[in-house]
Symmetry: C2
Subunit: 158 residues, 2 copies
DNA sequence: TATTGTTATACTCTATAACTATA
DNA sequence: TATAGTTATAGAGTATAACAATA
């Protein structure tokens, strides 16, 4: 029985997409559980807090609440809550924006930079460890394919 | 200035691992938001409910609460809550396990199979669409690399 | 004593919508 | 009128721990 007609091919393509998505979800959940757990145990913090600080570290000039909301892909109210926490702990600061008195620039404080530096080093070790089963070539290939996937998924989302 | 000494190479390897993880997380979140939103809008259901039914569909003989908990990577109380919901909607059933009177086998009902079939078809279309930017070759390559990543992350987790 | 599953509870994460102040 | 940010709230998702029944 010939099973490689167009319909069968198409259908097997579809299942491959589905398998990719399910496997992607599993991989992310495995890594996420490790990272969340260790951030909590070793640094008493959470992934969203870490992500927010990571964005600020990449923008030393500071970011508006707006921009943080877009970069972190969450709505504004959540950003306010996290910034409130971090500010009360002295890790970030709200700077007034002279050009627009409604807005702030959020920036890491010195203490925030130091704190994030420690977490980032540890975080990077965990991740290197979790990905140690892949060769350098495979890392490069995976990075490329994920870039394509991101572009593909963003196109549909928009 | 020579920057390709061993330490620099190691460090650039580390950053690649980190970039992979961050990109993986972004990809998953992009797809997850789409899938969650559509499951809610079109089928009034959630991703954990869908995942649970998907596991049952792959095990027509039924699964114990225990096994569901392990497969879904969540603790037992949550499985109880979801099975309660689905049972009250007539989509799954708890069958007594004669060999062990503490345990049940959870199985899709006829209605559950039908309902899941509809959702799975739609779900597959969304995913195919979200992954349409990659060629068939790239799909295959990505599937392989994710399998390796999964194995690598599971080894650390255990 | 260990295991299966349930119950109760609390916390994280996120979205929505109404609101204030400024543009 | 629109935009930046805040507040209040609700719901999804998850973990922990105490518990009952059975092994």
């Amino acid at each position: 029985m010939l099973r490689t007609d167009r319909e069968t091919i198409a259908r097997s393509d579809d299942h491959r997409a589905l398998r990719i998505w399910l496997r992607l979800l599993t991989c992310t959940q495995l890594i996420e559980k490790q990272v969340r757990g260790r951030l909590r145990e070793q640094f008493s913090t959470t992934l969203p807090r870490f992500d927010l600080m990571a964005q600020l570290e990449r923008h030393p000039e500071g970011l508006k609440m707006n921009a943080l909301s877009r970069l972190l892909m969450v709505t504004g109210g959540n950003v306010t809550a996290i910034v409130d926490q971090l500010e009360s702990e002295g890790l970030v600061e709200r700077l007034e924006e002279p050009a627009d008195r409604r807005a702030f620039r959020i920036r890491l404080t010195r203490a925030g930079e130091r704190s994030f530096g420690e977490m980032a080093r540890a975080h990077e070790e965990w991740v290197v460890d979790l990905l140690a089963g892949l060769s350098r070539r495979e890392h490069e290939e995976l990075l490329k394919l994920l870039a394509k996937l991101k572009a593909s998924a963003m196109e549909v989302g928009s």
